[in-house]
């Protein structure tokens, strides 16, 4: 076992997911099976290999910092589950 049920519980919290007891058992099983398989990468010596985060030779793409039209407030709020006075409304934070 690479990860325990407790690890999965912690991962779920970091991922902002709430798992049932049943889910926890099932994910512990399937994640371990996957991680077991992924372990094959350790057979490769990659100490001198550069990581490739990206495949194209692109550097930072910059543009002029100029004001441009964007969504108006009404459009931006159109899909909001809850809004009040032109703002997104969320439950109590503190």
């Amino acid at each position: 076992m690479i990860i325990s049920e407790r690890d999965v519980e912690q991962l779920a919290f970091l991922s902002r997911l709430d798992l049932t007891a049943e889910d926890k058992i099932a994910y512990t099983k399937s994640l371990n099976a996957i991680l077991d398989y992924l372990d094959m990468l350790n057979r490769l010596d990659t100490d001198t290999v550069e990581p490739a985060a990206h495949v194209l030779p692109l550097k930072n793409i910059l543009r002029e910092d100029k004001l441009q039209p964007s969504l108006d407030k009404e459009q931006a709020l159109a899909n909001a589950p809850e809004e009040e006075e032109g703002a997104f409304k969320v439950p109590r934070i503190v």
């Binding site: 994910y27 099976a33 992924l38 990659t46 909001a80």
Partner: protein, 485 residues
């Protein structure tokens, strides 16, 4: 004449000659949807009024003697993870079941600009995570060749729609094989362009360094026409490449003489279904007979590709899907205590099991203490995989392999074992890791189900793929076979 059976270029000729109207064509396709979509379930949303309006506008153009573009009036399906202004875009997740985007993806704007009509939004695995379209939060799409089998995924709805005549062409997205696998399973043409060739603006992100939008069609000519319309630099996607888009239809030559084709032996190794192998070998022999040089070669890091992908893609997904928090759009759970509780319940109630699995896997790969061992390690192996291709393309113009070691599997056959499902992508994912273009074309049948031939080329060398694919197509009839429904 069954209009829904024809290709875009055939229909374009009929439209220009005024033998049919665009409205008539679109009605014919909607009639077909009406007749068969109960069996196929390709669409999650239909946009008939919009399509007919677009069609009538094309008819007015034709009437007034204007020259119309090759896709004008042609009914196209759009994968439901591609944003459409004012039209439900769900990614087939409960999370976005009510999401109406306030803007359209660049590819949709380009299709609109070319006069293509939109039939509707096609089914997919939730957030494009899957290989069978069984992970859709709404329903399963069925393979038109055998409705007890999957269409492949994640762009299963887009592929099945074209195969069943419910659209003439369609758009999908491909992160690890999500265009090529369903194209192969459904017997249509599917192309994943070079990373950066097509704007991702408005594509609901899964793994941003791998995602790419591409076309499905019934033949290679239509594929080239679609590619031409959707490609090109877009300032709204900072990873879209600045290059001049060639007229892809110009590469459709019936000639592969002298073309050097490499066949990576790792892709035809153990585990491949013998009937699929036979079909692929026959296709290779055909290309050789047409004058190409075909020989076996090696991509030595192939066996590590799946592992590399299943660290990088979930890592990027865990970060991309962090935005679904129930605040600005999408689903929000009710009766929550505070904001963290709201996030947790929202995400738990609205994400499906596979999406949760990948978010947790990615979170694990990126978490403190594991980052170097998993994520960074995978990025290093990605370099090795890319170098394999660089080396192969020093010697070959093109690489060819099967798209998948098997044909379409049965619905439910692999849903209990995620790893088994992931293995469906074993021949397609390296292409995304390397960022090169990959294509699936119909090359025969094994036990009555379509087999796809995968063509892989150098970065931005879609031209050679199209040329070889076109030549194969001109000398075979597989693309003309249609499923009985």
């Amino acid at each position: 004449m069954q209009l829904f059976r024809l290709t875009a270029h055939e229909l374009h000729d009929l439209l220009v000659k005024k033998e049919i109207s665009a409205e008539e064509l679109n009605l014919a396709v909607f009639d077909r949807v009406e007749a068969v979509d109960d069996k196929v379930k390709a669409y999650v949303t239909l946009t008939k009024e919009r399509a007919l309006e677009q069609a009538r506008s094309v008819d007015r153009q034709i009437h007034s003697g204007e020259k119309i573009s090759p896709l004008a009036g042609i009914p196209v399906a759009v994968k439901d993870n591609i944003c459409t202004d004012g039209i439900l875009t769900t990614a087939c997740s409960k999370m976005l079941a009510n999401f109406v985007p306030p803007y359209s993806a660049t590819v949709v704007k380009r299709l609109d600009g070319a006069g293509a009509t939109m039939v509707g939004k096609a089914n997919l695995d939730e957030f494009a995570m899957g290989s069978s379209t069984e992970n859709s939060a709404f329903f399963v799409t069925h393979n038109p060749w055998d409705t007890e089998r999957v269409p492949g995924g994640s762009s299963g709805g887009s592929a099945a729609a074209v195969a069943a005549g419910e659209a003439i062409c369609s758009l999908g997205s491909d992160t690890g094989g999500s265009i090529r696998l369903p194209a192969s399973f459904c017997g249509v043409v599917g192309l994943k362009p070079t990373y950066g060739a097509v704007s991702r603006y408005g594509l609901i992100a899964f793994a941003s360094s791998l995602d790419q939008i591409g076309p499905f069609s019934k033949d290679v000519t239509d594929c080239a026409m679609m590619l031409k319309v959707i490609s090109g630099h877009d300032p709204l996607d900072s990873t879209s490449a600045k290059y001049s888009v060639p007229d892809y239809t110009g590469f459709l030559r019936n000639d592969v003489r002298g073309l050097k084709i490499g066949v990576p032996q790792e892709y035809i190794a153990e585990g491949i279904n013998p009937a699929v192998r036979e079909v692929i070998e026959k296709a290779l022999a055909r290309l050789e007979a047409l004058g190409a040089h075909v020989e076996y070669t090696t991509l030595p890091h192939t066996e590590y590709a799946l592992s590399t992908y299943y660290l990088i893609a979930p890592a990027e997904a865990s970060s991309n899907l962090a935005r679904y928090d129930g605040v600005r759009y999408g689903f929000r759970a009710q009766n929550t205590d505070d904001v963290i509780d709201m996030f947790m319940k929202t995400r738990s109630e609205a994400f499906g099991p596979e999406v949760k699995r990948r978010i947790m896997l990615g979170t694990y790969a990126l978490s403190a203490g594991y980052y170097d061992a998993y994520y960074l390690k995978a990025l290093r192996v990605r370099t090795l995989i890319k170098q394999d291709f660089d080396r192969a393309f020093e010697k070959y113009d093109l690489l060819i392999s099967p798209v998948c070691p098997t044909t379409a599997f049965r619905i439910g056959e692999k849903t209990d074992d995620p790893l088994e499902m992931y293995l469906s992508d074993v021949c397609t994912i390296s292409i995304n890791l390397a960022g090169i273009p990959g294509m699936s074309i119909p090359c025969g049948f094994a036990q009555g189900m379509p087999v796809g031939l995968q063509l892989m080329g150098r970065h931005f060398d879609e031209a050679t793929l199209l040329r070889a694919a076109y030549t194969f197509e001109q000398n075979t009839d597989y693309h003309k076979a249609v499923p009985e429904l």
